[in-house]
């Protein structure tokens, strides 16, 4: 497992959530395999992982929706009581709402289930629901529904907000719209736990991330910290159409097995990961490869994820 970023210990206050040796099994399947981590106050923690990694199971145990097979979850250093439900806000991955109610009525219904709640106008404003207030919630688009569900999650002015893949299935515009809202909430000092498939989302919103695979934590820390720690330099990408020379370096063992870089053959391109950019470019030039169509980018979370899990994210 990758080392933990010091940011976790830099925060002085007691963690809002402590996950201790959590295990969840379904008959012979181990969904969560003895994981432990803390969630400090006022951060946005991202839980990343491929489908079936155990993200949703983990956060549903934290939410109190599922019971763990073993292990424990502490809220503000103690067992979770009824007060916990009063103080957290949850947006599930997929939820239907009561039929035949309008957006306004749905919000009021959930607001009234809590002792403490935010003013309706504030919720409408922060989640940008003005235009759909009197619309039947069955007729909302994906983005509108997610905004309503986020407003419901915020209805009780929660200290901790848990968002399970809030942008999955949304178009890029709706996704960015929701990112703005979440950034706004985050700026108000709320603690957020977010699961996502989108690396860009995690990089923009999260202060810390946990990468899970097969029920275990395989990396944990701030995105930049993990990228620096796992630094593999840059990725040089050459379209296959630009490599017409013979002999091609991508069939030559002296190039493809070179210790200073790794070659990945993609459907339309050759990707080379290296810390030794000059050496690599010189080697390509020796094969008379034209570099005019070459692209170069630094490593991102997706590269890190693929390296750690061997899985490709969306």
């Amino acid at each position: 497992m990758a080392k933990t970023n010091p940011i976790w210990t830099q925060m002085n206050s007691k963690p809002i959530i402590e996950v201790k040796e959590l295990v969840k099994t379904y008959q012979t399947i181990v969904a969560v395999n003895c994981i432990s981590f803390d969630v400090p106050h006022n951060i946005c923690l991202g839980l990343l992982g491929p489908n079936g990694a155990g993200k949703t199971t983990t956060i549903e145990i934290i939410e109190g929706i599922l019971r763990p097979t073993s292990g424990d979850v502490l809220y503000k250093g103690a067992k979770r009581t009824k007060k916990f439900r009063e103080e957290i806000g949850i947006q599930f991955q997929s939820t239907e709402l009561l039929s035949f109610l309008t957006v306004r009525e749905s919000l009021i219904t959930f607001k009234n289930l809590y002792q403490r709640s935010l003013p309706l106008d504030y919720l409408i404003d922060i989640c940008r629901l003005e235009d759909i207030l009197n619309q039947d919630n069955r007729k909302l688009s994906g983005g509108q529904k997610q905004r309503l569900l986020l407003a419901i999650a915020l209805a009780n002015d929660p200290e901790l907000i848990i968002l399970d893949e809030p942008t999955t299935g949304l178009d890029p515009q709706s996704r960015r719209y929701l990112w703005d809202i979440i950034s706004n909430i985050k700026s108000q000092g709320k603690t957020i736990i977010l699961t996502t498939h989108y690396m860009e989302e995690a990089q923009i919103l999260c202060d810390d991330i946990i990468i899970m695979d097969k029920g275990s934590i395989i990396a944990q820390g701030a995105p930049n910290f993990l990228l620096n720690e796992q630094n593999q330099g840059v990725t040089i990408s050459l379209p296959k159409s630009s490599v017409t020379n013979s002999p091609s370096p991508f069939v030559d063992p002296s190039f493809i097995d070179h210790p200073k870089w790794k070659v990945f053959v993609k459907p339309n391109s050759y990707d080379i990961q290296t810390l030794y950019v000059n050496d690599c470019l010189n080697a390509l030039l020796q094969f008379n490869i034209p570099l005019a169509q070459m692209t170069m980018r630094s490593q991102n979370l997706e590269d890190l994820f693929i390296k750690l899990t061997g899985n490709k994210l969306q």
């Binding site: 929706i65 949850i90 599930f92 939820t95 239907e96 035949f100 219904t109 289930l113 809590y114 002792q115």
Partner: protein, 349 residues
């Protein structure tokens, strides 16, 4: 707690009253049934047994047996003439008619299907009519019961009310909860401070409100159109109905306590509702049925609901006259509700 109960109560009522298809069906269905049965049974002399009449080809046109002419006017039968004997036998074999009579033969010739119970009764009617009734005058005298006549519509009204109660409770509560569990609505509620007790009681009272609203509409309409009259006290009728509602709604909760499969819930509810409906004397009396069927019927809450409502409505009984029915319904409510709350799950684990 009251605030949360009230919130769910209001939300569920809004759902029901805005679902026009469901709301309309709940209101119209019992009314159609009562109206339909009232119309069908308003004339007691509806033909019940079908007589196929054939003529002997060898003496065709000669007949006019006087006795048989009067027989044809009997109100309990419907005469169906056939030109060919084979056609009549074919219908008899397929139970489409109950008896075939050759009206030209002397003596009469008749055929019945041995496997048809109606055929045997038709035979008795036929043979009985060949005898002059005055011959029995010294052997039996005819009498009629005194008192208010109870029409079929008076008798069937409490039954249909209780049947509507059952369908509305089991499908309107049980089925809806399974659907909510499946699509995650219950899981969403679980993430709030709402407790199962608050949720369940809100659902029960919401459905009770809906059922009382329906009852008021159906009673008002039926009393006006069919000239119905409750012999007992209306308050007793309503209170007993409320007890019945609690019991059947609790059964709905019990059936929906755990499953996430709408198909399974639908199957279970259908499996339970049909025997209950058939054996709860909604449509016909179990008088004369084997004792084990009568005992089995006592296990069904709807039997007690129908019996109690009928006794208040038609016989003028009060609540104090129904300790057995009330006791059974109380006990069943307690068992169904306790088990339902104990087994209740918000979602799949």
């Amino acid at each position: 707690m009251i605030k949360r109960f009230w919130t769910i109560f209001i939300a569920r009522n809004k759902e029901f009253f805005r679902d026009r298809a469901s709301f309309g069906w709940n209101l119209i269905f019992p009314f159609i049934l009562i109206g339909g049965f009232s119309f069908i049974f308003q004339n007691e002399a509806n033909p019940t047994y079908k007589f196929g009449l054939i003529h002997d080809p060898q003496i065709k046109g000669v007949s006019s047996n006087h006795t048989f002419s009067s027989f044809e006017t009997l109100p309990m039968i419907e005469s169906i003439p056939f030109d060919h004997q084979e056609d009549a036998f074919d219908r008899l074999q397929h139970h489409k008619i109950d008896i075939v009579v050759n009206v030209d033969a002397t003596p009469f010739k008749y055929w019945i299907n041995q496997s048809s119970p109606n055929g045997k009764i038709a035979e008795i009617i036929f043979l009985n009519h060949l005898v002059n009734p005055t011959e029995f005058q010294n052997m039996a005298t005819k009498n009629t019961v005194q008192g208010r006549e109870i029409r079929y519509v008076d008798w069937v009204f409490p039954g249909i009310i209780s049947m509507n109660l059952m369908f509305s409770s089991l499908f309107g509560v049980g089925f809806v909860i399974v659907r909510y569990r499946k699509n995650g609505v219950l899981k969403r509620f679980k993430a709030t401070p709402l407790s199962p007790f608050e949720y369940i009681t809100a659902q029960i009272f919401s459905r009770l409100f809906v059922l009382l609203f329906n009852l008021s509409c159906i009673m008002a309409l039926c009393f006006w159109l069919f000239d119905l009259h409750c012999v007992g006290r209306y308050l007793d009728f309503i209170l007993f109905y409320i007890l019945g509602c609690f019991c059947i709604i609790s059964l709905g909760f019990l059936l929906a306590a755990r499953t996430c499969s709408e198909e399974f819930a639908n199957g279970i509810i259908n499996l339970i509702t049909w025997p209950i409906m058939l054996l709860s004397e909604i449509w016909f009396s179990l008088e004369g049925a084997p004792q084990w069927i009568k005992t089995l019927a006592l296990c069904f809450p709807l039997s007690h609901v129908t019996d109690g409502l009928r006794r208040i409505f038609n016989e003028g009984d009060g609540l104090l006259d129904l300790p057995f029915q009330i006791g059974m319904l109380f006990m069943m409510t307690l068992v169904f509700l306790s088990l339902g709350v104990f087994l209740f799950k918000w979602g799949e684990d």
